[in-house]
């Protein structure tokens, strides 16, 4: 019998509203000029959001724009534009999609017609963040400046102690915090210079405090997904991450999670799950999704497989768990939060011989969310994250036992990497392996 195709459905109403944040963020970059505001190209998970908000700079998020182009299956024209200037297809397609868009906009002197959601406004500055998470972000801002030569670029370095099972990272973290704090202070100077305004330090402190509260609320909300059946899975989380990732430090983001919290409580009370018959609970172990194929989450759901937890875009933690030292300097607070977030799985990894922090994080979610398997997505153009996926899978198997795992292959934006029939075929085989594993356990 032919497979019945269904449109992508969202489990929560909140996820349906997340798109408005994306649209509003892009619209804000286009309206900024009229409002006398400066626009900055900036990049996610950078520790800089609060400074940008406190300086009243409008952020233009390249990853979000490229993801939207990918989701609308309308990125190819920008990828080809970048490729025509010798950018390899194997470079991060978030970067090449955005650079292609920049090239085109500069050539035309206006935003190319038909650009998804109106496109991004021309930036007044570029604020980059080179850090261990992603290597292209060192070069991406510089490559962009090649086409926007009048736009000043600042690239900071937000590092954290690297994992070494034989070294207690606490011996080094003060140095990293000091370095990150100084980098952030330099960013403030850069923003002051290019906006002509002085930082309002009280306002920054208030935003930093608001971010702490948003992180706490975000985790409280996501922990509701431990319920059986889970009221929300990763398919929705790829939408509900938008306020945390692109609107951190704003009241709108906080209110979004308040609303989501209430919605999930209601679903739990009514025992409304994501799948009709929840059979297999899985962790989305690593990897950015194929934005053009988010419907694959529903394909999992239709087979009774749900994702109550994911590593991707869960870039927050209960602040209490991070045990941050007290400081009156908001920049130092951001730096501590940054360093401790990336290192707070180190102790657990040290206590399990052979383990690594990324695997400990997956184990924590497997146990806390009562999951039986792990799915990874290896996006070929995202080398810095995806190169380690096979290693993570192997270590997980070695230190934790036989957990069914699936590594899907594709890309974040480049649809030429994707074959729906083959992807579904892999999912089918994986679900059969899950069923066999479930029977073995019974």
């Amino acid at each position: 019998m032919a497979e019945i195709k269904k449109p992508r459905a969202l489990a929560t109403q909140a996820a349906g509203k997340a798109g408005k944040f994306g649209r509003a963020n892009l619209a804000a970059t286009l309206k900024a000029k009229e409002e006398g505001k400066k626009v900055a190209y900036t990049y996610i998970s950078n520790g800089q959001d609060e400074i940008i908000r406190a300086m009243d700079i409008v952020p233009a998020w390249g990853e979000n724009f490229a993801g939207i182009c990918g989701a609308k299956r309308d990125a190819e024209k920008f990828l080809q534009k970048a490729e025509a200037d010798n950018f390899s297809r194997s470079i991060c397609t978030y970067a090449t999609c955005t650079i292609g868009f920049d090239m085109w906009r500069e050539e035309l002197g206006r935003i190319p017609e038909g650009t998804p959601w109106g496109g991004m406004g021309r930036p007044d500055m570029i604020i980059g963040s080179a850090q261990q998470l992603c290597d292209p972000r060192i070069k991406w801002p510089q490559a962009t400046q090649h086409y926007l030569q009048d736009v000043p670029v600042w690239v900071g370095s937000m590092y954290y102690p690297p994992w070494d099972p034989h070294v207690d990272h606490r011996e080094q973290e003060q140095l990293y915090v000091k370095f990150a704090t100084e980098e952030l202070r330099d960013l403030v100077r850069f923003c002051e210079k290019h906006t002509g305004r002085k930082m309002d330090w009280d306002r920054l402190s208030a935003i930093v405090d608001f971010t702490d509260r948003t992180w706490d609320l975000f985790i409280d909300t996501y922990e509701l997904r431990k319920a059986h059946p889970t009221p929300m899975d990763t398919g929705d989380a790829m939408n509900t991450m938008v306020p945390l990732t692109f609107n951190l430090g704003t009241e709108e983001a906080y209110n979004f999670y308040k609303e989501l919290y209430e919605e999930l409580k209601g679903k739990i009370a009514e025992k409304k799950g994501v799948a009709g018959d929840e059979k297999y609970r899985l962790v989305w172990g690593a990897g950015l999704p194929s934005w053009f194929a988010l419907g694959d989450f529903q394909y999992f759901n239709d087979k009774g497989a749900v994702f109550p937890a994911e590593v991707t875009y869960r870039n927050a933690e209960k602040v209490e768990r991070l045990d941050l030292p007290k400081t009156n300097d908001p920049l130092e607070h951001i730096a501590w939060r940054w360093v401790r977030f990336w290192t707070h799985w180190y102790d657990r990894a040290r206590h399990r011989p052979g383990s690594i922090p990324k695997v400990e994080r997956i184990i924590e979610y497997l146990e806390d969310y009562d999951c039986m398997g792990v799915v990874f997505h290896s996006a070929f153009s995202c080398r810095s994250w995806h190169a380690g996926i096979v290693q993570q899978a192997e270590i997980l198997k070695k230190v934790y036992g036989d957990v069914p795992m699936l590594i899907m292959e594709g890309d974040i934006v480049d649809i030429s990497s994707y074959n729906e029939a083959d992807t579904h075929h892999r999912i089918d085989a994986f679900v059969e392996a899950l069923e066999a594993s479930r029977k073995r356990r019974q």
Binding site: A2, V390, A421, H425, R426, A429, A433
Partner: protein, 281 residues
């Protein structure tokens, strides 16, 4: 005819295979899939039923597998070939821990334990490492596909085929041929290139002996030898390596039927007919 009978239908990209099972396998048939497989699967089934001297209504359960499994209107259940290969290989060679399946359009590595799939990898984005690569090279060299294995074994110094892309490798083979390289050396080089690609894919699973090779690639003695050289261990090849998926499918059908009988529940069967798939089926 009395007794219980089960069929497994494996619709691969190149060949369609059917196994009919009673207490033991009683008949099998292999036919080309072709572009119209939706219309032809029932023909292959009819051939197999004829060999077994059974009517379609004698079958108690039919499981379809392979990439065309969705389009088999006379099947009671669809199961992926990953699971079916594991089941089929385990029944024939219980010591198997790793399966390498080299099919017409893809290749797979499957790690198994007691006939269950523990993990798997697939190469479905590139023709290099699949039977398609062999077809292209056989065509380019003018050697029948079925002779590649034996011709390759006559190599004195296998050529190095450096291109990993089928299209470019074909051009490379042609230019080496023009440069005077012998056909056996070129074929052996191609076998080594495929073995190397398949090894790289399967190594992600941590290959464990016994390794069993299935699919059309397993019928090529030169490729099997190249795989053994690359793996640095002997491999096992079932007597009919094309049939393990269909056999596994039939065994799964028999298991589901037995489970239902033991539990006293009715066997869940779909209303079915032996005919070609239509728009509505």
């Amino acid at each position: 005819m009395m007794g219980t009978y089960f069929a497994g239908v494996d619709i691969g990209s190149t060949m369609t295979k059917v196994v009919i099972l009673g207490e033991e396998p009683i008949a099998s048939f292999i036919g080309p899939t072709g572009p119209e497989h939706r219309k032809l699967a029932h023909k292959v089934m009819e051939e197999a039923l004829g060999s077994a001297r059974l009517a379609f209504d004698d079958l108690d359960y039919v499981v379809a597998t392979g990439y065309g499994r969705i389009n088999v209107p006379f099947a009671d259940k669809q199961v992926t070939e990953i699971t079916c290969h594991a089941k089929g290989v385990h029944s024939l060679l219980p010591s198997a821990k790793t399966i390498i399946d080299i099919g017409g359009q893809d290749s797979k590595g499957i790690k198994i334990g007691n006939g269950k799939v523990l993990s798997f990898v697939m190469n479905d984005k590139c023709a290099a490492g699949t039977g398609r690569f062999l077809e292209v090279i056989a065509d380019a060299l003018g050697v029948p596909l079925s002779d590649l294995g034996t011709v390759g074994l006559a190599a004195t110094a296998p050529a190095v085929i450096s291109n990993t892309c089928t299209v470019f490798a074909e051009a490379e083979v042609i230019s080496q041929l023009a440069g005077g390289e012998s056909v056996p050396n070129l074929i052996a080089g191609v076998h080594m290139a495929i073995a190397s690609r398949v090894y790289a894919m399967t190594a992600k699973l941590k290959i464990e002996a016994d390794v069993v090779v299935t699919g059309g690639g397993a019928k090529n003695i030169g490729l099997v030898k190249a795989l053994e050289d690359r793996l640095r261990m002997p491999v096992l090849v079932p007597a009919e390596p094309l049939l393990t998926g269909a056999l596994g499918a039939a065994l799964i059908g028999r298991g589901l039927y037995a489970d239902a009988v033991i539990s006293g529940e009715p066997v869940r069967r779909r209303a079915k007919r032996l005919g070609e798939a239509t728009f509505f089926s």
